[in-house]
Structure formats: structure tokens, C-alpha cells
């Protein structure tokens, strides 16, 4: 029983952080139909900046998300204006190729600048835990989970209670109608891409505290995040949260009760089974491709 509670807790804590990392990816897909394969590279970039600033100034890495988030917002906006904007009307494969290209370039640049070595951010609390009777809660997991919950809540409020957010949601639900009532498609897309990228700012800072990373780590992260949003339903924010919690808990349960060897496999089996019965993912809306306006 203790083992079960322990695995469940660890799974939920890490799932919360996965959810934050996946939120931007699903948001951008929902509104723009763009699968941003560079999301993983953005995460690692933010983690590297966090490492750089933390190691030179000693500022708490989690607090640094206050810096990395606006920084990544800006980067997202620039990347959108310079590159993504040009391929919005192209087939989805073009956007995947473009964002994959961005990821490769970013990986290369990070490799050159940082001598391609592993980095760890160690503020001290990453080694210790809170104890709850027989259960342990690593402090880094607890702190990063708390931040993830706060940021996801802010994102939710932003999407539901501000004009920008309502415009973003309107554009994702029905672009032609949204345009009719005065939502500018281009500015909404720019804003969405920037917000989607901004989540990698805080996501990267949290990743830096939890894991050791190097430039090529982004491949692991992007495949994990894509899995999460496919399971949850592409484009659905609550879906990303649900998918992440399932990933976290499935990983922890499988490695406790079966073997760590099966931890990844079980998650993908879950995805397969869900897609068999609900091809749009757990909380995804079925899309009728035949009437979707370009």
C-alpha cells in the first residue's frame, strides 16, 4: 500500500511538470495547426540559460523562470515573425520540417556555445525530500509541481478571462467566424506562438532543476511531449494535463510493479488503446477535415 501511494504521488508530481511542458505544444497546435517540433529544443535552451545565470549569479533557478519566461515569449514572437508565419498556409508537413530545422539549428548552436557537455543545476534542495510518514516527496518535485500548477492556472485564466485568450480560443474553434467578429488571425497566431513558447521558459527552468541535460536532450523531451498531447487530444489544454498525469503515473506504477524496462512501453500501449477507441485522443474534439477552411 505504501508502495502504491508512493508511486502515485511521484507520478502526479512529475506529471504536473510534464503538463506544463506540453501545454504550449498543444496550444499552438490547437490554434495554428502547427506541430512545433522545436518545443523540446526551446525547453533545453531555456534550461541552458537557467544554468548559465544560476552558475554565475547563484540566483535560485526556479525564480529564474521570471526571466526565462518573458525571454522565451520574445523568442517565440521573433521565430513566428521570421519563419513560422511564412508556412502557415503550407501543408502541415512543411511546418514540421521547418520547426525541426529550427530545433537542429538550435541544438547545433547550443553545442558550439556550451562545448556540448552535460549541465546540472544544483541549488541544494534537489537532494533532499519532505517526509510524510513512510512516504518521501523530493523537494525539487514538490516545488516544481507547485510552480507548474500556478502557471497552468494562470494560463487557464488568461485563456478564459481575457480578450486575448478569448480571441485565441475563438480562433482555435472556428477561425472564419472569429475573423468575422474582428479577431485578427495573424496577431492571434503570433500571440499564441509566443505564449506557447513562453511556457518553455518556465518549463526549461524547472527541467534544469529536475534533470541533467545537454543540447541533444531535446529529442527525448519532444517525443515524450508529443505522446502526451496525442493521448490527451491534440489542441486540448485539459487533455494535455490529463495525458501528462497518465504518463507520470503510468511510468511510476509500471516501474514499481512491473519493471522500469516497461515504463515507456506501457505509456505507449495506453496511447494505442485510447486511439483505437477514440482517435481524437481523450479530450480532443473530432475534426471533420472535409469542411475545415484553410
Amino acid at each position: 500500500m505504501t508502495g502504491f501511494a508512493q508511486a502515485l504521488l511521484l507520478g502526479i508530481l512529475i506529471g504536473g511538470v510534464y503538463a506544463l511542458m506540453a501545454s504550449g505544444l498543444t496550444l499552438v497546435f490547437g490554434v495554428m495547426n502547427v506541430i512545433n517540433v522545436a518545443q523540446g529544443a526551446f525547453l533545453i535552451f531555456s534550461a541552458l540559460v537557467t544554468w548559465e545565470v544560476w552558475s554565475t549569479t547563484g540566483v535560485d533557478p526556479i525564480a529564474l523562470s521570471l526571466v526565462t519566461t518573458p525571454m522565451m515569449f520574445l523568442l517565440g514572437w521573433v521565430v513566428y515573425r521570421l519563419f513560422v508565419r511564412r508556412v502557415l498556409d503550407a501543408p502541415p508537413s512543411a511546418t514540421v520540417l521547418l520547426t525541426f530545422g529550427i530545433a537542429l539549428v538550435l541544438e547545433g548552436v547550443m553545442g558550439l556555445v556550451t562545448r556540448n557537455v552535460f549541465h546540472s543545476v544544483t541549488p541544494g534542495y534537489e537532494r533532499t525530500s519532505f517526509y510524510l510518514g513512510p512516504l518521501f516527496l523530493p523537494k525539487a518535485y514538490v516545488y516544481t509541481f507547485a510552480v507548474a500548477v500556478v502557471v497552468l492556472s494562470l494560463l487557464y485564466v488568461l485563456l478564459t478571462h481575457t480578450w486575448t485568450g478569448r480571441a485565441i480560443r475563438a480562433a482555435s474553434q472556428n477561425l472564419p467566424s472569429a475573423q468575422l467578429v474582428g479577431v485578427g488571425a495573424s496577431s492571434v497566431a503570433a500571440m499564441t506562438f509566443a505564449i506557447g513558447t513562453a511556457t518553455t521558459g518556465v518549463g526549461g527552468s524547472l527541467l534544469a532543476v529536475l534533470f541533467t541535460f545537454f543540447p541533444a536532450s531535446h529529442y527525448v523531451w519532444i517525443s515524450r511531449l508529443l505522446g502526451v498531447i496525442v493521448l490527451g487530444g491534440m489542441g486540448s489544454l485539459p487533455g494535455a494535463v490529463l495525458g501528462s498525469l497518465i504518463l507520470g503515473v503510468a511510468e511510476a506504477m509500471t516501474s514499481t510493479y512491473v519493471s522500469p524496462r516497461w515504463a515507456t512501453v506501457v505509456f505507449y500501449i495506453v496511447i494505442l488503446v485510447v486511439l483505437l477507441f477514440k482517435p481524437s485522443g481523450l479530450l480532443g474534439r473530432p475534426v471533420r477535415e472535409d469542411v475545415v477552411a484553410a
Binding site: 508502495g3 525530500s129 534533470f211 541533444a216 536532450s217 527525448v220 519493471s259
Partner: protein, 418 residues
């Protein structure tokens, strides 16, 4: 190593391949451009440079060790050229990037051999990449000295032109560690042990062989598990290990999993009396910064090279590295340097570039390198043993074998995490 990376949508994999195609196309263009430029790099004898070809993982999963290997080759090149070259000719390196991809590396070595017509080859990094690359070399009857690829599968194919330029294959990597445990008085020996390892051709055989030896010695196995390369959470494994509280943990780590596991053990508050880990602890300050320098105390690992070992040319290698790239050379750079030394010694002894003669010479002679003296059996597997190292007072010290030990002190039992 991670050929079977668990995740990855099909889409991503496809685009990744497309990306590599692009890279390949650009690389091909560059080659054409170089050829048009009238370079006389292609083969041939006479006074032109000797061209040595290699493909290394400079991007992708193995980009970190791949980059280090390139540095090792480059330092060897500049040291050889500044002392008169090889057979009186300058040495020129032709190093291309295989993006840590098994298909790309086959293309690369085929191109190096048949189109660029390089005079000699040097190997690449990791068993995963050396497996196909060495097959290309063997088919073309080219000597293939490789710096890092000790999986048993490498040497079960009866290759004649393949040589592994480290001291031992993976199953023998931890021989000195087992020897040390055997040397302990029976009362002090560990009673129980846990064996977590990554599913990797260079870690799993090491851990399997430690387990086999220790079980024969009467050490009870209380936990063993194999996890896939993309595992990043070790809390559940650590908490399972804590529940068994073994005296010894032998962990088959590549790198980030080594740090992840130690952090997780710190988190659950469990520290064994003996802690052995493959690879990760040999990464100098990348390792000590990852887990905190205080927590390195007493951690064992095996390593092929030490900056302090008193072998010929070792000091110059360390100095040149410091001058050119800064810092202490990583082990992977030293291994690459040693591989190039092996090739150099054989070519000099034979006195000409004759692949068959070079291979025959290496099969019947031993070579002094910065890793010590190396020799090979008929399959190209080396016959020596790795160094057993231990972190002591924030430094890595060589504990065994006695001839090259930097200290006669062994930290045992390991102090608890700080």
C-alpha cells in the same frame, strides 16, 4: 546505444530522417566543392599527405563523446605533424559527422573508402555505431582501430581488421573491482547487492559480469533491473532499492542516468556501503557538479585512462589538450588519441601503408599508448584490464592495479550522502 528509443511519433522520426538527408546533401555538396577546388587529398603515394578518414557522432545522442573523440584525434594529428609526420608525410584528418545514426555511418565510411579514397581509417564512438562501421571496413579490407566500442557483439564476428584500442571488452571492464572485493576479509565483504542498469551494450555486460562474479562469491542479489535509455525518473527505482537496503549497489550508467540515480538515492535517503557506477563518474566535473562534490566521496568506477598515469606521451597529451581546448581532457578524447597511436605505431613498424601487413603486425605485437600497453587476440579484443578508480576528497584516484595506482588508500565503507 539507444537504437530502440521508446517514444517518438512516426512523424518525428520521418522528419528527423528528412533532416538528416538535408545534412547529407549539404555534406555531399561540400565534398564536391572540395574536389573541384583541385585538392590532391585522394589516396596515392608520394609526398602528399596521408589522409585518415573517420566519421564521428558530432551531433545527436552521442555528440558529447563524439566531440571529445574528435579533439583526441586532432591533438594526435598536431603532435605527429610537429614531429615530422607519419612515414615522413604530413597527416591530414578527414572527419565527417554521422549524426549518431547507424545508416549515416555506413554511408560515411563507404564514401571515405570508395570516393575519398582515404589512406587509413580510424573508428567512431560507441558500439552501436562501430558495429556497422567496422563491417564496412572489414569488407574493404581496411584496418579499423576504434576508440570506444567494447560490446561483446563486436568481437564475435571473426573480423581480422578490427582492433579495439582500450584495455578490455565490456564483460571484463570491472575485473579489478571484483578483485578488490575478493581481497576484503570475508567478514567485511558485502552480503547483499542491487544491480540496476541501463539497457546499453556497454553497461549491461559490465553489471551482468559483476553480478555473476559476486554471486559466485556468495553475495546475495536482492534487486536487479534493466531500464530503457530514455528513463529520466529514478525515484521509484531508488525507493525499491531502499526497501531491500543492499550493502552494495553496482549501477550500469551511461551519464545522466548516473546522476539521476544518485540524486534519487539522496532523495530517499539511502546510501550503500559500496557504490560502483559505470562511465558517469569518469566525467570529471560534469559528474561532481551534478551530484555535489561532497557526495562523490567513495564512489567507485572503472576507467581506461588517467591524466596522472605515467605512460609515455601522456603528459604531452594532457598539456596540449589544456592549451588547445582548456581543462582536463575527457576520457573519450584520451581513448581516441590512443586509437590513433595504435594505428601510428603499426604503420611505422610496417614502414608502408599496406592494410594486410598492418593488421598482421597488430595481431602479433603489443603497443604502448597513453592507456598503457595494449595487445589483441585474433578477434581484435584487447587483453588487458581497466583501471579501478575512486573519488576521494573531490578528486578521482586510481586504486588498482597497483603498478599505476595514484594512492594506496581506499575509502570503505562509503560515507553517507551529505
Amino acid at each position: 546505444m539507444n537504437a530502440g528509443r521508446g517514444g517518438g511519433s512516426e512523424q518525428l522520426a520521418r522528419e528527423r530522417r528528412a533532416g538528416k538527408l538535408l545534412v547529407a546533401a549539404v555534406a555531399a555538396l561540400a565534398v564536391v566543392a572540395a574536389a573541384c577546388g583541385g585538392s590532391n587529398a585522394s589516396g596515392g603515394g608520394g609526398g602528399g599527405p596521408i589522409v585518415i578518414g573517420a566519421s564521428l557522432p558530432l551531433t545527436g545522442d552521442f555528440s558529447q563523446p563524439g566531440t571529445a573523440a574528435k579533439q583526441g584525434y586532432q591533438i594526435w594529428q598536431s603532435m605527429v605533424n610537429s614531429s615530422g609526420g607519419l612515414l615522413g608525410r604530413k597527416v591530414q584528418l578527414k572527419i565527417v559527422d554521422d549524426a549518431s545514426d547507424q545508416n549515416q555511418i555506413v554511408t560515411d565510411y563507404n564514401r571515405l573508402i570508395t570516393q575519398d579514397k582515404v589512406d587509413l581509417l580510424l573508428g567512431t564512438f560507441s558500439s552501436l555505431l562501430n558495429l556497422p562501421a567496422s563491417a564496412v571496413a572489414e569488407r574493404n579490407k581496411m584496418v579499423y582501430v576504434e576508440p570506444a566500442g567494447g560490446a561483446p557483439e563486436m568481437f564475435s564476428r571473426g573480423f581480422h581488421y578490427l582492433f579495439f584500442a582500450q584495455q578490455a571488452t565490456a564483460p571484463h571492464q570491472a575485473d579489478q573491482f571484483v578483485k578488490w572485493i575478493k581481497s576484503l576479509p570475508a567478514a567485511q565483504r558485502p552480503k547483499t547487492a542491487a544491480y540496476p542498469t541501463q539497457d546499453d551494450p556497454f553497461t549491461k555486460p559490465v553489471i551482468d559480469s559483476i553480478r555473476k562474479h559476486l554471486e559466485a562469491l556468495g553475495v546475495r542479489t536482492v534487486y536487479q533491473t534493466v531500464y530503457p535509455p530514455d528513463t529520466s525518473n529514478f525515484s521509484t527505482i531508488a525507493s525499491a532499492i531502499k526497501a531491500k537496503s543492499p550493502d552494495l549497489i553496482a549501477h550500469g550508467a551511461v551519464f545522466e542516468d548516473g546522476i539521476g540515480m544518485i540524486r534519487a538515492l539522496e532523495n530517499v535517503g539511502f546510501s550503500p556501503k559500496i557504490f560502483f557506477e559505470t562511465s558517469a563518474p569518469s566525467q570529471g566535473d560534469q559528474f561532481s557538479k551534478g551530484i555535489g562534490i561532497d557526495n562523490t566521496e567513495g564512489i567507485f568506477y572503472t576507467v581506461s585512462w588517467s591524466p596522472d598515469a605515467d605512460y609515455p606521451q601522456n603528459k604531452q597529451f594532457v598539456q596540449q589538450y589544456e592549451q588547445r581546448f582548456g581543462g582536463v581532457p575527457p576520457e573519450d578524447a584520451a581513448d581516441a588519441f590512443a586509437a590513433a597511436q595504435v594505428l601510428q605505431k603499426a604503420v611505422e613498424a610496417v614502414g608502408e601503408i599496406d592494410q594486410a601487413k598492418i593488421a598482421d603486425w597488430l595481431h602479433s605485437h603489443s603497443v604502448d599508448t597513453i592507456l598503457g600497453r595494449l595487445s589483441w587476440d585474433e578477434t581484435g579484443a584487447p587483453q588487458q584490464s581497466f583501471l579501478l578508480a575512486q573519488w576521494q576528497n573531490g578528486r578521482s584516484e586510481i586504486v588498482l592495479p597497483k603498478e599505476v595506482a595514484t594512492t594506496d588508500h581506499v575509502v570503505f565503507p562509503k560515507p553517507p550522502w551529505k
